[in-house]
């Protein structure tokens, strides 16, 4: 691949990854934690209603995992498309 097309491919791979991560980000906080909270509260995990758990605990754990997932996948993409530093 020539360098411009390679950069193009890298960028669209990145956009796909961002879209995937932001979908999960939206689902766990806005969908599970706010929009569907009452429905999910019918399901119990321990003493938590599931919707309440997503709103006050789960969404934050998943946010953390999402960022590290994104960072590690991007590290691989940086290598694969040869656009990494150093």
């Amino acid at each position: 691949m020539s360098e411009p097309t390679q950069r193009q491919a890298y960028w669209s791979a990145n956009l796909k990854l961002v879209a995937l991560c932001l979908t999960i980000w939206f689902v766990v906080s806005y969908l599970f934690g706010i929009i569907l909270v009452e429905e999910l509260n019918a399901i119990k995990i321990g003493g938590y209603g599931l919707g309440f758990w997503f709103a006050q605990q789960g969404s934050m754990y998943i946010f953390v995992i999402l960022i590290f997932f994104y960072a590690s996948r991007m590290r691989k993409l940086d290598q694969k498309f040869n656009v990494h530093e150093d």
Binding site: I34, I35, G49, Q56, M60, F63, V83, H84
Partner: protein, 594 residues
């Protein structure tokens, strides 16, 4: 040793530590002063970012806010953490690749316009100054409450400490003190929480305790028991939703994009050595933030439960079901003297009734009990964290630690904000617009003077807070969400976004958000000038002024996009700049660092 001496010792020891770090981490160049030489390890930067981000409000007020809002308090938890996902995915790595010193500098170069840079500087200064007032106030409050030092003296001491390490070390000094401050504040926050969780549920991990069964023999889950107790007293169930779904949704969104657009947070990601580090560093920041933010809802719920059970000792409505005022615990008395807790014996029975006297459904019941109104007339949010160690019966050194933790939270955030303000003045205004040929040495001196000036102004405003101080948080987040975040994001993700589009977008976001907030809170917060009462019936589609930032951002995106379609595209070299920041290769290197 008495509590006061112990508190002085603990707080004094932390202050000595901060000063020691300041002497060790002096800044010699502008690069060190502005971005710590770009040589901060991503984990260390994550920790510093967490301290930078978690303010006096996060440490002292948030758990109390959740204690009284219940489920609705989730907006703060999700809103103030979800923004880091946006930062890591959409902004931080690209701005690090750009490799300059300030957020406004990126906006100015990307949109090849000093006007755009100036709009960004103004938004940045307004957002940061409003924020820093709260921190200075927090320092004064912490001093006066724990050390019985006069409020003004407290602010002066706080100013002196920040002055020493921020003026000497700039970003470098601030970064390493923030790491120490994080350790102090997280320890002070989690230790009482662990003991309270252990007390109530037998589970030492508060995050699990919140979802556990009570050990009081009732065999109820903690949250179910809390729901039951508050409902029996006429309050809405703790876990139930109170405000509209649309408003919760938009408030969460506004806080998230506001967080991602706050310059003092973004700046921290300029300090790491590599682009890849900027991504992982955001993850580390969120790890350190989440330790406190996932503990806070447990602290809130457990403190609320403790408070309700302290007052309602027996069956609701039974003649001996309420605490006799004369028998109240010592912590109750202690907090009464501060005015944060206030009792008024409305029915003259010598017992405390704490219930929702605004609930119409409960009014008849209350009347039949002979209750004549809620007698806990003041229960300040802040008590929930500050009184926690006393309620749990923890030793004095833990109480001393909470004082040091509150001060650490306020000082670390204040320093980050002051740096954002002073770099905007010395780098964006002085070097960027007035005198581009200024020497490195002179710019460094100017940034130190700007920092000292910012500290004085912040201290003054902290001592004489304008009447609108409480209102301005909405403004800070609203502005960051509606102006800075969209401008940055479009600058990276839309190669064809031009100067006119971006400026029009920022102005549309700025004006719409300002007008909406002022409409309900008064023009420039002058009382009496509001156009409509700040109540849900008057809000447009039930959207509160605090939640409007997300709408302002949306209007910004739309306006910028439309204008960019009908104006000439940006010049070739700007399009190359955008292509260049999209790949990590060729990022500016870190300078030597110790």
């Amino acid at each position: 040793m008495d509590l006061k001496t112990l508190t002085f010792l603990v707080v004094g020891a932390t202050f000595l530590l901060y000063i020691g770090i300041a002497i060790w981490a002096r800044a010699g160049t502008t690069k060190e002063f502005y971005v710590a030489g770009m040589g901060v390890h991503p984990v260390a930067n994550g920790m510093a970012t967490a301290a930078d981000w978690m303010s006096a409000a996060s440490f002292i007020s948030m758990a109390g806010l959740i204690a009284f809002m219940g489920y609705d308090g989730s907006v703060y938890l999700m809103g103030w953490t979800g923004g880091y996902v946006l930062l890591a995915l959409l902004l931080a790595p690209y701005l690090r690749k750009f490799g300059k010193f300030t957020v406004s500098e990126f906006i100015g170069e990307r949109y090849y316009s000093n006007a755009a840079r100036m709009v960004a500087v103004v938004c940045l200064i307004v957002a940061s100054v409003t924020y820093v007032i709260g921190q200075m106030k927090g320092i004064g409050v912490a001093f006066s409450r724990f050390l019985e030092v006069d409020f003004t003296t407290g602010v002066f001491i706080g100013m002196a400490i920040v002055f020493i390490y921020a003026v000497m070390g700039g970003m470098k000094g601030i970064t390493y003190t923030q790491i120490a401050q994080y350790c102090v504040l997280i320890f002070a926050y989690t230790v009482p929480a662990i003991f309270i969780s252990l007390n109530l549920t037998g589970n030492p991990i508060p995050q699990l305790g919140l979802g556990s069964t009570m050990t009081d023999g009732s065999n109820l889950a903690l949250l179910d028991k809390l729901d039951m107790i508050v409902r029996d007293l006429g309050f809405a169930a703790y876990t139930a939703q109170k405000s509209s779904t649309l408003n919760l949704f938009l408030l969460t969104m506004s806080l998230m994009i506001g967080t991602a657009g706050l310059p003092h947070v973004i700046m921290r990601f300029f300090t790491v050595p590599r682009v890849a580090d900027a991504r992982s560093s955001a993850g580390w920041a969120l790890v350190f933030i989440a330790i406190l933010y996932t503990t806070a809802p447990a602290v809130g719920a457990m403190a609320r439960l403790n408070l309700m059970e302290t007052v309602q000792t027996g069956a609701v409505g039974a003649p001996d079901g309420n605490l006799v005022y004369a028998d109240r615990p010592i912590w109750f008395k202690n907090w009464e003297t501060t005015g944060l807790l206030k009792f008024e014996d409305k029915n003259g029975d010598g017992r405390i009734q704490y219930y929702d006297d605004k609930s119409e459904a409960f009014a008849a019941k209350a009347a039949s009990f002979g209750w004549q109104g809620n007698e806990m007339v003041t229960v300040d949010n802040d008590i929930m964290v500050l009184a926690n160690p006393e309620i749990a019966g923890l030793p004095n050194w833990v109480i001393a630690l909470v004082a040091a933790g509150g001060l650490a939270a306020a000082l670390s955030t204040a320093a980050g904000l002051l740096l954002a303000i002073s770099t905007a003045i010395s780098h964006d205004v002085l070097k960027g617009m007035i005198n581009p040929n200024i020497s490195e040495h002179k710019e460094l001196l100017a940034s130190r003077i700007a920092m000292a000036g910012a500290i004085v102004v912040a201290g003054y405003l902290g001592m004489n807070p304008p009447g609108f101080a409480a209102q301005v948080v909405a403004l800070a987040f609203g502005l960051a969400a509606a102006t800075i975040f969209p401008a940055l994001m479009m600058g990276i993700f839309n190669k064809n976004m031009d100067n006119i589009g971006a400026i029009v977008g920022m102005l549309v976001g700025l004006v719409s958000t300002l007008v909406y907030i002022f409409w309900f809170k008064g023009w420039f917060f002058f009382p009496g000038t509001e156009m409509a009462a700040n109540t849900p019936e008057n809000w447009f589609m039930g959207i509160s002024p605090e939640s409007f930032g997300a709408i302002g951002a949306l209007l910004n995106f739309i306006a910028a996009y439309v204008v960019s379609k009908i104006t000439p595209p940006p010049p070739e070299h700007i399009q190359h700049l955008v292509e260049d920041i999209r790949v990590p290769m060729g990022a500016a290197k870190a300078s030597a660092h110790h």
